[in-house]
Symmetry: C2
Subunit: 415 residues, 2 copies
């Protein structure tokens, strides 16, 4: 379909693959033949071993042990064991991360605990382009409390907007539309200098590059299990509580499994120590098992190498798109590498249709309203040759106008 010889193949993609220290990781994933998957920032692919682990959890553990599984297979501690594995990727000490519930619910827990630490201050500060559920959850919390105010400013103005009335700064490290990566250490320091509590959403960070929560000093963080961690659709999310808050962070969703002694069935709530106090209900064992097995792909991986490859993949994509595509209709909205997460986004007035055409031709990215096409670069399974080919196909679709067909304009329920 495309005359690759005429336009020229990407100059050094194959050489980059040959020199890639993470190249062996690709074999740890099931990747449909012929598909180039640039949407691991939305739903990671299926890692090998997950199907087998889930099958064993269902048939052997649940089917065979029944209720005895809680003790026999260590189900009760699974949220904290998986939390410790995620903790290694985000610079969190053992015992400071627990896994369960959705990202939204975990954000609510973190925010509720954070505002309780600054009762005299009114404002939860965030950026007006934050992922909507974060803003909605903050709204809901303020509504419940009957006080507090969600103040939104443009992302670039967050640091200056922190003041003496700021109770909590709530920020997503990587912007879901543009891929802009905030300076975690600097924003946290600014928040602390003003006496505010810091809550990070690491949805687009965890597993994509090294995060150092401990060094940042942030009080709370949440993140997602199904993006770069590849835990499966709707995988459990996680919550980080800074270790020195282990005995004081208030769990607003004070469920029995956050109790210090769940099986004593005491009439009054008494929180456990550490992040475990943020547990609420019975842990979702099937999906926790999937996530636990998925994390095997990160075992022994140096996250600095992951970052290095992520940047190189994205740079190759950007340069190839610039070289091959008609750029008139396409606007790169992601910042330069130093201030970028692991995705590259372009605005295009017909971005939805262009993305559908690209998907139809075997390159999966996604679309975020109103006009953003996103391409995610997950270094564990993507090759440089994949990225170069994706850029080529995008350029070809744009040049040919093949995206402008009725089928590609019809909006699906989920975008």
């Amino acid at each position: 379909m495309t005359d690759q010889l005429h336009r020229g193949a990407a100059p050094d993609a194959a050489r980059l693959d040959a020199a890639d220290p993470l190249a062996d990781r690709r074999a740890l994933f099931h990747l449909p033949e012929g598909l180039i998957y640039l949407d691991g920032n939305s739903l990671g692919p299926l890692p090998k071993g997950v199907a087998e682990r889930v099958a064993a959890t269902v048939s052997t553990e649940w089917g065979g042990s029944l209720i005895r599984g809680w003790n026999a297979h260590g189900w009760m501690d699974l949220p904290d064991r998986v939390g410790d594995r995620i903790g290694r990727l985000i610079g969190a000490a053992p015992g400071s991360v627990t896994v369960g519930d959705s990202t939204s619910v975990n954000l609510f827990k973190a925010l509720a605990a954070a505002v309780a630490m600054r009762p005299e201050r009114a404002v939860i500060l965030s950026d007006d382009g934050n992922f909507p559920t974060d803003l909605y959850m903050a709204e809901g919390l303020n509504g419940l409390r009957g006080r507090g105010r969600l103040k939104l400013v443009p992302r670039a103005e967050i640091a200056e907007a922190i003041d003496a009335d700021t109770a909590v700064v709530m920020l997503t490290e990587v912007d879901y539309r543009t891929g802009h990566k905030a300076d975690m250490a600097a924003v946290t320091a600014k928040a602390h200098a003003a006496g505010a509590v810091m809550v990070w959403d690491l949805a687009h960070s965890t597993g994509a590059f090294p995060v150092d929560l401990t060094a940042s000093g942030a009080e709370f963080a949440v993140g997602c299990g199904y993006k770069y961690l590849n835990g499966g659709p709707g995988a459990p999310a996680f919550l980080y509580v800074r270790p020195d808050l282990a005995g004081e962070a208030v769990p607003a969703l004070s469920g029995w499994l956050g109790h210090a002694a769940p099986f004593a069935f005491e009439p009054a709530y008494r929180p456990a120590e550490g992040a475990a106090r943020m547990r609420v209900g019975t842990p979702p064992i099937l999906s926790l098992s999937a996530l636990d097995a998925a994390l095997d792909a990160f075992e022994g991986v140096d996250m600095a190498l992951v970052r290095e490859k992520s940047v190189a993949l994205a740079e190759l994509f950007i340069s190839e798109v610039a070289r091959l595509a008609p750029m008139g209709s396409l606007t790169l909205v992601s910042p330069p590498a130093a201030a970028r997460g692991s995705q590259v986004s372009y605005r295009h007035a017909q971005g939805y249709a262009v993305m559908q055409a690209l998907i139809a031709e075997g390159v999966i990215g996604d679309f975020r309203a109103p006009d953003v096409m996103r391409f995610g670069f997950a270094p564990l399974y993507l090759r440089f040759t994949d990225v170069a080919e994706a850029a080529l196909r995008l350029a070809d679709i744009l040049s040919s106008g093949r995206w402008d067909r009725p089928a590609f304009h019809a909006r699906a329920k989920v975008t």
Copy 2:
């Protein structure tokens, strides 16, 4: 080990099995050979078809379709489709039940919406023997709101305790320790007569006997996916919102998937219609698939027959225990059938050790502190002969004193 001839077998268990209209359902479950499972009220066994469905969801849907699974496999509507299937078992209209999150989190949502309907009243009323997480979650909600009071009275005094300051009556239909089954219609009517909002916890009801939420007029209900519904360890829970509240119940956990247009990414929250507004984060597809497949076992089942068999199983157990066991140390704490759910409980000063001995001999029930032994009767897979044999073994363990060994006194982490 037991001289059955001497004591006499249960008089008519085999005959009851032969006449059981639900007898064919047992074949729909994987039940470990030789085990008598009387703990389906804590964790239901693995239904056939679940392993296959989960495997397909993991490998074919997630592994093969990746992000396209949200549209291709209807993942996004799964919480509501599964909700409608549960709705049939609890007398709830289509669209009034959604599935996701834990029972505790759903209770929080229901309670928060309920108290918002009575802002001028201070009290959440419950019984002092309610399952602790329900009480803890109410405590947490009041703490967040900075107002409201949790008033606890003995279960028998709930109806009289409802007064003009009662905002919400929160009750678990079946008491987790005693198995006492409240009169849902009467308590709800009493709550409404006093102007209070009713929230039912159906954890030990759903799938065990018919519930008629519509007839009761209750505003909210929550329940559990892993007990009598057999959805697997930590299965998603459900939440019912009375249909006429579809446009007004306030979602305090206002997440993006409860938004009227999640993929419009609007900056302000705008709830969906119906129970769907109580959705929060991304639905847990693996565990929802397991629960969906598990519900096949209820397909076409008349819940009135389930109740009839549940009562007959429990009555047989009680009469056999009374006939065979040394009753001096054992106190039946469950009420007569009309006021009982689908479990039978006994107090025994050494209940923990007795239960461990019984489990070691192949009959699984469970223990609830401080001294209650629970036996659950799930009519879809239990036989009358199982129940008679369980009573015989319990009697034998008590008579012989075989429970009084050090190994049986050592407390496990999870009881």
